[in-house]
Amino acid sequence: MNPASYLIEFKSVSKKFGNFPANDNITFGIRGNTLHSIIGENGAGKSTLMNILSGIYKNDSGNILLNGNEINFDNPLDAISNGIVMLHQHFQLIEDFTVLENVILGEEQVRKSIFLDLNNSKETLSALIAKYKLGLDPDSKVYDLSISEKQKVEILKMLYRNPNIFIFDEPTSVLSPLEVEQFYRIIRTFKTEGKTIILITHKLNEIKELSDYLTVLRKGKVVYETDAENLDIPVISSEIVGSVNIPAVKTARTEPGTEEVSLKVENIVYEKYKIRKLDCFNMEIRRNEVFGVIGIEGNGQSEIVELILGHIHGFAGRISKKPKGISVVPDDRIKKGMIEEFSIGENVLVRSSREKIFSNSVVKTTGEKIISDYDVRCPDTNSPMCDLSGGNQQKAIFGREIELDNEFMIFVHPTRGVDLNATAFIHNIILEQRNAGKAILLITADLDEALTLSDRLGILFRGRFIKELPGDILRNADKKSKGKIIEDIGKYMIGISGE
């Protein structure tokens, strides 16, 4: 095979949803045994294109060549039998099944034509776990696993099918910094084994770290292509957003006008299913400040939110100061953030008690305000929120919560799965709200985000703050000491507290 020839080739691939062109005449190629990144904003068409390649969607026109032969998959099984597997943003696991059962589902080995042969599969699986150092127990139930472990199960599902081409859709957005490193290591192993990896992302550092080739999509079109040697981050950033002005957080911090405490919780001990979730947990948040909470997922983040919102009962300790109103942008926008079947306007109105009667015009004007003020892109004011892309759903929920104008605001992973422009936009508004006298709790797994926004930063480990740092030291630090500080934070996050 000619080394310059492509393993996968997209030729004028187009796909429309309604009247919206998600992929518009896309033409480019992916070389074998390389890591090819596809980068772009939310709704640029990255996921759509990869869903076509993995057999979930069908393209309206154009064709796709694999090894020079045209392919036309009817469903994901066709893709898998051609060696193409995809890791989706939303996990597709059966929580009540074990790791092993999840992995073999659809590929079960059978003895005497009806009995499941788990032992054989288990050996294969254990070998895979050992080989890639995934550190999972094949017999543990999936509901017991953390998000990063669940992702490993998904990766195992891919590996078990012995594919040639891996597609990852924003794999690191749910991982903490250490877990990201681990993930990179696994991906590099794949490459040394001769596999081809396609990575959908909008993290620029990820591209620098991993990519051999890069394709930038914008509004469904290929706008820029390059390879590792000619990688120029500023150029790529401007190609992604389509302008030379890279968005940045511009809002300056004003001096706090008031030191009024908005929320104070003392010595909270909370257990769920006999597991201690909050362990002598103390927190105080004042108006005019952003208190950032960083930590590996599952160390008490969701319990803090539930505690403040009054969703949990039967805890020891006390909440000695409660804010009057609480806005919350929850971690899981689909499960906790909105009613997907309702339009934006309806979601805003059902949240506030401002209007009792929802006339068509009230719903429309309410929706339009959020759409224009928070730059939400949607097919129609009346379309249900499930028709919006993830980033636009996030902007709509964010806008809704800001508009409530509550004294206390909780943001959990506010920019997860959101593009660069929107991230800067959201960060600016969070700081504006801080300056306007709001007390803000920011829970995030994104260190950069925590460092950019926080006045104080708490590092959460096993249900309490193992360390608290002032936010400005981090912002004022020079490059070298910043590296050291970040390294220390990483250590605190896994419970190592040596200075």
Binding site: L309, P330, I339, E346, I357
Partner: protein, 347 residues
């Protein structure tokens, strides 16, 4: 609703035709002439004022009970205990009005209706509170409470209030009977259709407004669609669940008004004849939309009275088959029609 009206209309029409064809084959195989059976049915239902009136009379309780259930279904409470709720409420209604009408005359009517509503609501409160406090599926509790309701009503009726050697309560005084529709539309002469029908229509329109145009309705549906998100949005999901369930269950008691005050003047054992179950289909067929329920209730009302009309020509089981076939074919064609319409709209 307007953007969904056309596909719904098409799918119902297609499925009614489909049902007639299948049922026609059925009739043909058992040696009946389908054309004759169907034409007799349609003639009796639509051909005479009496037929139309009787169809309206059969439709009224289906609208009322369907609306009550729709409320429950909107908060995702699969209330299959309407049959029990209806009987508890209607029985109490008849008993109270019997004891009070001599003393307070007309006022016995509102008192009885309120008491009936409260009794049915209580019968809904039990599964609702058990669900909220103990997470026991309302499907199980409501069906069990059906048996309890039957036994309780049976006992109280037979032991305490029944007219000797009957299975009914004593009759109410004449002045408490509701006006018949035929008083206003003489051509309906002879039928039992009464002003409860107008009340049912008004209730359906009112509930449509509440469910789709007010914050209460939106919150109700939020709780039904996504309770977790509703909780994060600051909605008291338990309160809304319980309130909606008891109001929905309470509304099913209105079925008793049509029968007691509009028709017989007493409560009779077995008067509801599985209405509480038919109404589940009525509501689901209309996607729990009260305006749609008016139409789906009519469909079942037509089949019900039409069945009586051809009683002596075909076995009565054929009407049950017909009802089931209509539901099945609507469910199937609904998907197909929607798919076809979105396809042509995009093309």
């Amino acid at each position: 609703m307007s953007r969904k009206f056309l596909p719904n209309f098409i799918s119902v029409t297609v499925s009614v035709l489909l049902t007639l064809i299948i049922a026609g084959c059925f009739l043909y195989f058992i040696g009946k002439d389908p054309v004759m059976v169907f034409s007799k049915m349609f003639e009796d239902v639509f051909g005479t004022g009496y037929g139309i009136g009787q169809t309206i009379f059969k439709t009224t309780p289906l609208i009322l009970c369907g609306c009550g259930l729709a409320l429950c279904f909107h908060v995702s409470a699969f209330n299959i205990g309407a049959e029990g709720q209806i009987n508890i409420g209607a029985f109490l209604m008849a008993v109270i009005v019997f004891y009070l009408d001599d003393y307070i005359g007309y006022f016995a009517f509102p008192v009885a209706v309120l008491a009936g509503f409260a009794a049915s609501a209580l019968w809904g409160f039990i599964p609702a509170i058990i669900k909220v406090k103990r997470e026991v599926s309302e499907v199980i509790t409501t069906i069990m409470l059906n048996f309890v309701a039957f036994a309780l009503v049976n006992y109280l009726l037979m032991e305490k209030v029944a007219v000797k050697s009957t299975v009914r309560t004593p009759e109410i005084i004449n002045s408490l009977f509701l006006p018949k529709l035929s008083e206003y539309i003489p051509s309906l002469q002879g039928s039992s259709a009464n002003i409860t029908f107008i009340f049912a229509l008004a209730l359906a329109v009112f509930l449509y407004f509440i469910i789709y145009k007010t914050i209460y309705g939106y919150r109700m549906r939020s709780v039904g669609i996504n309770p977790v998100a509703s909780k994060y949005m600051g909605i008291n999901i338990n309160r809304i669940y319980i309130l909606t369930f008891i109001i929905g269950a309470g509304i099913t008691s209105f079925v008793g008004i049509n029968f007691i005050f509009g028709y017989k003047g007493y409560y009779e054992l077995g008067f509801s004849s599985n209405l509480g179950f038919t109404a589940i289909a009525v509501s689901l067929l209309a996607k729990n939309n009260p305006i749609g329920i008016i139409f789906s209730a009519f469909l079942f009302g037509i089949l019900d009275f039409g069945g009586l009309a051809v009683n002596n020509m075909v076995p009565k089981e054929i009407m049950l088959v017909l009802q089931a076939l209509v539901i099945l074919s609507i469910l199937i064609t609904d998907k197909l029609v929607n798919k076809y319409i979105t396809k042509t709209a995009n093309a």
